[in-house]
């Protein structure tokens, strides 16, 4: 696709936006009825697809610039190649983001004209001026960044990286700006003692944007986008590894998969806490949201989320396990016995401590910090800590890396089990009967302290495994391209599962508005304003994920396959791991 064609796509998207605004102003515009899916599901499909593409084009450049900078700093051409290849895919998907964005506006206007008119009027400056300006700026910067790649090298490379940073900055602002109206639909401005309708009349644009869930949503989406970008980069690598014909190509894409997974998992470690923060703020906004999410209509959506996150943590640790298998000398790596002890103790101690000192009571840290830090030697990172007698210094016993990782896997299964255990096997509290309910003495397993401890156990085990991996590559020799072929399926699994989970949680966030377009403010009088079943939602989430994957796969094949013939510098020859 040439520049003018891409420009045309962007122009179409803008036309859709402005044309949509004009259409929305038409008085009494009748709404249409989508066949088979109904209006709500039609909006759901288009909106979710748009968000998936948008998440990629905002997440991938963060990953790309970091990679380019590392290549520049280390003078390693393979980082630069990785960055460029991901950018090629990003450019194609950028057009898809614009197209689905335009389609989203059209579908929304056709199906919910009254609401859309009202909503655009509430954020007119954002939709008509700020967002298009940011979008155009981002378009210009992305194409500039891509087309100056080869010309701005050598001494001009730092200029190119700076352009990438600017692109990310604009992308970040775009995300934050559009999160204003999105979060407003969940938590519109309110003030004590005044009706929301009345308060809205006096609220400024800033009041509407800076609502309860705006900042938590920003944080959640930024971290989520980086995770997403990392895992999709891993998936690109897996595709290319599967299609590679030469050993050096396999070595390169093995390395690329590892880097993508590292970024994805690194960001994923923060996701449960960002999600918790968002849920906490939503519950703080309106306490009735909490039972709707956790105990009533959406409770089984969270069970499914728990299952997905558990599987993703299992998969990311399995990838590390497979990666370790191709490191020569890994059997010499050992770790303090405190690591497995802390892993086993963590869910029990944390559940007890968090029950006695609920979040955000800082007292809980007094018990948990020593336990969490015990296996690590912080002196390398923080010089002052070497004067603090960490317990690990007095316990010389060590265990092999293999044992620590296996205990870690056991604790990931335990963590998954705790996360998944529900209060009752019922979709709503109203249907709870003794035969389907946890015994009262064990009800703590279904409460937040236990769930938090499960999440933290998963994160802790993963961090320990990466520390072990880091030690292994420092002490041994890594042979790129010789990884177990199953690892490529793990990379694809992580990308697919993270996107599926994103779709699931996106549906949850949207459904939290219950029978309102904008919570407690603008009711949805249509017949579709009920909570759909998890099964129905899963069908559509899977369908949306598959469509997204088909498009991304197409983009990868179109952009990266011709590079086969060009040939690259032999980056993939076996090198001592410490040279990384």
């Amino acid at each position: 696709m040439k520049t003018w064609q891409r420009g045309l796509v962007a122009a179409c998207a803008l036309l859709a936006l402005f044309g949509g605004v004009a259409y929305a102003q038409a008085p009494g515009a009748p709404s249409v009825e989508f066949p088979y899916t109904g209006n709500r599901t039609a909006v759901w499909i288009v909106a979710q697809l748009h968000i998936l593409f948008a998440a990629f084009i905002l997440g991938a450049p963060i990953f790309v610039v970091i990679s380019e900078w590392m290549g520049y700093r280390k003078q390693e051409p393979r980082y630069d190649r990785l960055a460029k290849e991901v950018t090629k895919v990003t450019v194609i998907l950028y057009s898809m983001t614009a197209l689905t964005g335009g389609l989203f506006i059209f579908v929304l206007l056709a199906t919910y004209p009254q609401f859309t008119t009202w909503f655009i009027n509430q954020f007119f400056l954002v939709f008509a001026v700020i967002y298009p300006a940011l979008f155009i700026s981002e378009t210009i910067l992305l194409y500039l960044y891509f087309y100056t790649w080869d010309s701005w090298k050598g001494e001009k490379k730092s200029r190119h990286i700076a352009l990438g940073v600017l692109l990310n900055l604009i992308g970040l602002i775009t995300l934050v700006v559009i999160n204003g109206p999105t979060s407003f639909m969940n938590t519109p401005v309110k003030a004590e003692g005044i009706s929301p309708q009345l308060y809205l009349e006096t609220a400024t644009l800033w009041d509407k944007i800076f609502n309860y869930s705006w900042m938590p949503l920003n944080l959640h989406r930024i971290v989520g986008n980086v995770t997403f970008g990392g895992f999709v980069a891993g998936m690109i690598a897996a595709y290319m590894y599967m299609g590679a014909k030469k050993d050096e190509e396999r070595a390169y894409y093995d390395w690329m998969g590892f880097v993508g997974n590292l970024i994805g998992v690194g960001a994923m470690l923060f996701l449960p806490f960002m999600g918790y923060l968002l849920a906490y703020e939503l519950c703080d906004y309106d306490a009735s949201i909490c039972p709707y999410m956790m105990a009533d209509q959406l409770s089984m959506f969270f069970e499914m989320q728990g299952a997905m996150i558990g599987l993703m943590f299992l998969a990311s640790n399995y990838y590390i396990w497979l990666s370790m298998k191709r490191i020569e000398g890994v059997e010499k790596v050992r770790m303090t016995i405190l690591a497995p002890i802390a892993m086993v103790a963590l869910p029990l101690v944390m559940t007890k401590v968090m029950t006695d000192y609920p979040v955000p009571d800082p007292m809980s840290l007094a018990f948990l910090l020593p336990l969490i830090l015990a296996p690590f030697t912080l002196a390398r990172f923080v010089p002052l800590v070497r004067f603090i007698p960490l317990v690990g210094r007095f316990i010389p016993q060590t265990v092999s890396a293999r044992t620590v990782i296996k205990i870690g896997f056991l604790m990931v299964v335990v963590g998954d089990a705790i996360w998944l255990t529900p209060h009752g096997f019922v979709p709503t509290g109203a249907k709870l009967v003794a035969e389907l309910e946890l015994p009262s003495d064990w009800n703590f397993l279904a409460l937040m302290p236990a769930k938090n401890s499960a999440a933290f156990t998963l994160v802790f085990v993963t961090v320990v495994n990466y520390v072990i991996y880091n030690r292994a590559i420092r002490q041994g020799t890594i042979v790129w391209g010789k990884i177990d072929f199953a690892s490529q399926f793990v990379l694809i699994f992580l990308a697919f599962s993270s996107i599926w989970t994103m779709g699931l949680m996106g549906a949850v966030r949207s459904l939290l508005r219950k029978y309102y377009h904008t919570y407690n403010l603008l009711p949805d009088f249509t017949a579709e304003s009920f909570t759909p079943t998890l099964s129905y939602s899963a069908w559509w989430i899977t369908g949306i994920t598959v469509v997204f994957f088909v498009v991304v796969s197409f983009a990868i094949i179109v952009t990266l396959r011709p590079s086969d013939s060009k040939g690259h510098a032999p980056e993939g020859s076996p090198v001592p791991a410490r040279a990384k």
Binding site: A417, G429, I492, P523, S535
Partner: protein
């Protein structure tokens, strides 16, 4: 293969022990099976850890493997989500219709008011015409009898009124936070079986409309954080609030330890 059998046997043994323990602890059958499932998951993970390496595939073979993998993933996720207990939207549809009904009627009422205004304007025109006819010497225009009085509203029977209050308890999902008659509540809000002893109907109504007006003893943190939503004055009709307050006012079960409300405003 021996490794797989060994790990599967360990998984089954651990699962059996977990089932035994959970049965002894009087866990319901479904939870016993859930713990058994966790043991099998653990066994599967350990089988996978020591599984032999997968041979490198390429070309059409890797493409087929990839498509098959996607089909498996889609099937597992859809069937996995369908295996959890499913919420029946029909349960909610009736509730939503009852909650949004008055709001929708209000919007229809807006249209009705417009019709009334038009009718009034027409009436004015008719009157003007009558005056003109009289002036022209007609005098025979018969005066229409005054419009019939609006039908008298029938008083709501007490039983129905109480039923309306109970219905509001269900519709507004008060049971999610408050326990009543031994049902509902997750300790988010006070148990209300004895609320009628402490508060009058007007005071309960005040508490619903302005949650900061009273604070239950022992719920200081919740009160300060404003845990009870300050939204019912906007969501509920006046009559519904009175019905709910009246219904709650009838609960005077002194054997239940309902915390004492303290007036704050």
């Amino acid at each position: 293969m021996g490794n797989v059998i060994k790990k599967l046997a360990i998984g089954l043994a651990v699962g059996g022990v977990l089932v035994g323990i959970t049965r002894a602890l009087q866990f319901p059958f479904i939870f016993q099976m859930m713990f058994f499932g966790y043991a099998i998951l653990g066994a599967a993970v350990f089988i996978l850890l020591d599984a032999p390496s997968l041979k490198t595939m390429s070309g059409i073979k890797s493409l087929i493997a990839l498509v098959a993998f996607y089909i498996v993933l889609c099937t597992v996720y859809i069937s996995g989500a369908s295996m959890w207990p499913q919420y029946d939207p029909e349960d909610e549809k009736g509730k939503i219709a009852k909650i949004l009904g008055p709001k929708f009627a209000a919007t229809q009422q807006g249209k009705a008011e417009e019709l009334i205004a038009r009718a009034k304007a027409l009436d004015e025109q008719v009157k003007a015409l009558e005056v003109r006819l009289k002036e022209l010497g007609g005098g025979q225009a018969t005066k229409e009898p005054p419009a019939g009085a609006a039908p008298a509203t029938t008083g709501v029977a007490t039983g129905d009124f109480m039923k309306q209050g109970e219905e509001q308890w269900q519709l507004q999902e008060c049971y999610n936070c408050h326990k009543l008659k031994g049902e509902g509540g997750k300790k988010r809000g006070p148990e209300l079986d004895n609320i009628g002893t402490y508060l009058t109907v007007d005071e309960i109504k005040l508490k619903i409309l302005d949650p900061k007006s009273f604070m239950a003893e022992g719920f200081e943190k919740e009160w300060e954080k404003g845990k009870m939503p300050d939204k019912y004055k906007d969501l509920m009709e006046e009559g519904d609030v009175v019905a709910l307050a009246s219904w709650l006012g009838t609960f005077k079960n002194t054997s239940v330890n309902t915390p004492k409300p303290i007036k704050k405003k």
